[in-house]
């Protein structure tokens, strides 16, 4: 029998173990630095062997991420990281496979792959860094930019309605869906760790500040002064209460959420209680519809449910086939079906 550990084993890693030797080439002040740093620190807290982490990215500023992680990494092509990650995970299910993508990479050119990776529930950890702008191509509007946004490619204002990353994830039935922000390292660390521990596809949207082309776009929501009044931090089993003084709550008015002063609530049952494991996607979808400035913006884990993963089912099918038929014998396979012999010097009428 195992004996109880009096003290936990020392952690095998420090943050520095996850820092690669490559010079980081993001702009000074870029939100990606915070994400990189939180990721390195978070991984050092886990007991997953470093060589079992693989970071796979597409194209864009955030997709340089793998170069800076001292793990296995693959900087691929625009929008296609989920496809390579899927292939890798199918053949090496023991690895922890991360996908780092952006709003353009993941939702514009790579939207199709993102949807299919999520609906298959392949055990991938997908981090979508959303700064609502094309940074690496120097400042065009992205599929998550707000309508009317003035950029180099939309001097009269963008006429593209934005796509909502979390709605896409819910529609694709992702089993783990979360949102966090670069300005809140503690919250980000918690979310990334939960994403890593989830068995199945994890989809995390990180609001990220592009200091050059879309500076402070999330400041009104996530800025230090206003954060507590404008963010609704989701905690499983806890009522939806927010505000600096924690004096406001969310309840349903018909099918829609509304803000209510806690003092005015007569029956605490009126207040919505966060339930991340709701098997139906309706409630998580409702949360995604809460947007600034009308409503506080939900942060945290929207959804976390369990269902069999693609890689696990693939493995199960193979094991079942081997059990049923035995390990394949090549000689038998080649000789399967109708075969015939031609003898030496054979003559005769057929």
């Amino acid at each position: 029998m195992t004996t109880l550990q009096e003290t936990p084993l020392p952690l095998p890693y420090t943050k520095e173990d996850f820092v690669s030797g490559q010079d980081v080439r993001w702009c000074p002040g870029c939100g990606d630095y915070a994400i990189l740093s939180v990721m390195q620190r978070m991984l050092a807290q886990l007991r997953i062997p470093r060589e079992n982490h693989v970071f796979i990215s597409g194209i864009g500023c955030s997709s340089r991420f793998p170069y800076y992680m001292n793990t296995y990494g693959f900087h691929t092509i625009h929008g296609r990281a989920p496809t390579i990650a899927t292939g890798l995970k199918c053949v090496r299910p023991e690895l922890t496979v991360w996908v780092v993508t952006g709003d353009g990479d993941g939702l514009s050119i790579g939207g199709n792959h993102l949807i299919h990776a999520m609906r298959r529930n392949t055990d991938l950890k997908i981090i979508l860094v959303n700064n609502q702008i094309y940074g690496l191509t120097k400042g065009q509007y992205s599929p998550t930019s707000e309508i009317g946004k003035i950029t180099k490619s939309s001097p009269s204002g963008s006429i593209d309605y934005p796509i909502h990353p979390l709605c896409v994830a819910i529609a694709a039935e992702a089993t783990f869906i979360a949102r966090t922000v670069d300005m809140d390292p503690r919250h980000m660390g918690m979310v990334l760790q939960r994403a890593c521990e989830h068995k199945g596809v994890s989809f995390v949207e990180i609001y990220q500040n592009c200091i050059i082309y879309n500076k402070d776009t999330f400041q009104p929501i996530a800025g230090r002064e206003s954060r507590e009044d404008r963010i609704l931090y989701l905690e499983h089993g806890k009522p939806l209460i927010f505000g600096k003084k924690r004096d406001k709550a969310i309840r349903l008015n018909g099918p829609n959420p509304e803000i209510v002063n806690l003092a005015d609530v007569k029956d605490s049952k009126e207040i919505l209680v966060h339930k991340e494991d709701d098997p139906l996607p309706n409630y998580a979808y409702l949360l995604t519809q809460m947007e600034y400035p009308q409503m506080p913006v939900p942060f945290g884990i929207f959804r976390c449910i369990q269902k069999p993963t693609y890689d696990q089912m693939m493995d199960d099918q193979i094991k079942a086939e081997v059990k049923k038929k035995g390990p394949g014998k090549l000689e038998d396979l080649l000789h399967a079906g109708s075969i015939w012999q031609i003898e030496e010097h054979e003559e005769g009428v057929s």
Binding site: R80, T83, I84, T86, G87, L88, E94
Partner: protein
Amino acid sequence: MSKVQTKEIEAVTIRFAGDSGDGMQLTGDQFTDTSALMGNDIATFPDFPAEIRAPAGTLPGVSSFQIQFSEHEIFTAGDSPDVLVAMNPAALKVNLTDLVKGGLVVVNTDSFTEENLKKAGWKSNPLQEGTLKDYAVLEIPISTLNANALKDSPIKPTEAERCKNFFALGLMFWMYDRKLEFTVKWIEEKFTKKPELIQANVTALKAGYHYGDISETIPGRYVIRKARLAPGTYRKITGNEAIALGIVTAAHLSGKQVLYGSYPITPASSILHELALRKNFGIKTFQAEDEIAACGSALGAAFGGHIGITATSGPGICLKSEMINLAVMVELPLIIIDVQRGGPSTGLPTKTEQGDLLQVMFGRNSDSPVPVIAASTPANCYDFMIEAIRIAVTYMTPVFFLSDGYLANAAEPWYLPDVAKLPKMQIQHPQSSDGPFLPYVRNEQTLARPWAIPGTSGMEHRIGGLEKADRTGNVSYDPANHHKMVALRREKVNRIAHSIPLMEVLGPKKGKLLVLGWGSTYGPIHAAVTELQKEGKEVSACHLHYMNPFPKNLPEIVKCFETILIPENNMGQLLLLIRGTIEGIHTVGFHRVTGQPFKIREIREKIEELL
């Protein structure tokens, strides 16, 4: 009993033609199986529309299956059928012009109704108007005879009608003295759970056979002796089946597992179907959301240390190009199978063409060399599939494998290999390094970089599409480094020429004319050149299977001939490559893009024109 004389002949070509729903592919397959099992050499050419069920009775809905079977070695399914079995007026209309003059037409007269004649565009009934005066005609009310034979069967009349192809097959079996037992066995296995269908189909088959025996209208009965092929064990195989078996064999030889990522596309899909059944052979199949994802999944698997394979046709190659270029940059083994079809764009999905050679050579941004292998017969798809995988894992490179719609579906006897004698593939993944691991240090001979795989402690490294610094693999924009890396990638592919066999010439090694082919033109070129050589003509042939790099002796071979004739099912793609790489030779192209393979006589005529 029939008083018909039985004659011995060397070879015969039969074409079964009917509506897409008439079961002509199945009928042809059964005739092929039986002929193969009776020891003939066989070659088949299935030809069917892209639509699953085009409107019944129309010209676009006609599906056909041609088989040549013989007592000697044959290389094609025959230029022109000796016998045409036409199940309806449309099938007669589409196929009649191909029949040899004096050949036999077998028609199902029941289908020659006014409505069907109109649908097929016959202004009058060809059975009555002398249209068929140059041919022997066997008018048989196949539907009626079949229905009579099945009148006691419990199955519905519509189901009984669907057995009529077996009546026609039975008749052909009688005419060519085939045994019924193989098809009977097949029917019994196919309909294990439906005994009434076994009985009905077997009855229809035997009714057709006995009709031949008793009708006394059949003009002749023929015997074709067993072919004198090399002694050994054979099975019938199509190109796509051979590819699938080649993949399973390569997995065995390398001790590796395979991820086959694919998106359904004609004419490549049957490889996916076949491999999906091979889970207990270490084969994982992944049906991706699109062509790009299919290629990406295979590359991801290669990164993980497995053999990553994807297959498609031309339109899919367009979509995969960027991913293949990534494989060039990161130098991982990736096998891309292109079963070519008529194009451009969606083109002719079910018809054959050799139009993708230049696409796979050059269809990527920048200088991006990728080795290209092309099979030339259905059976040698097996050998060259294994070879493509060997090259990919030995040189750490993506490799193209070219097949085409003809090879994919055509069948021939396959001399079964002795697996124990096939060379093993030695693959090593580095487990440790002195000092930091350098992912772009190269093997001195092959220039391959090490294949270190995720999960190996101490070998953590990053790869990607940005230019790599020599040795370290770090991102590098250094001008001199870029030039060096472009040259290294080129040189690595060129060095493959050291490990591939030299080409051999069929016929004299120098002279007036050399016919240089590649891919599925092998059959008609080989047959035409052999025939002409027997007639004393001075012509030689050689056939390319390695398209990039070329075998080392190709320049010296072609320089020994006054003229090089290059027949292709495209507008001159190998021609352009040869002209661009070998100086001082006289080349002539011969192009045909009809969606059909060359006929032997077309090649003959072209050769004779040049002699």
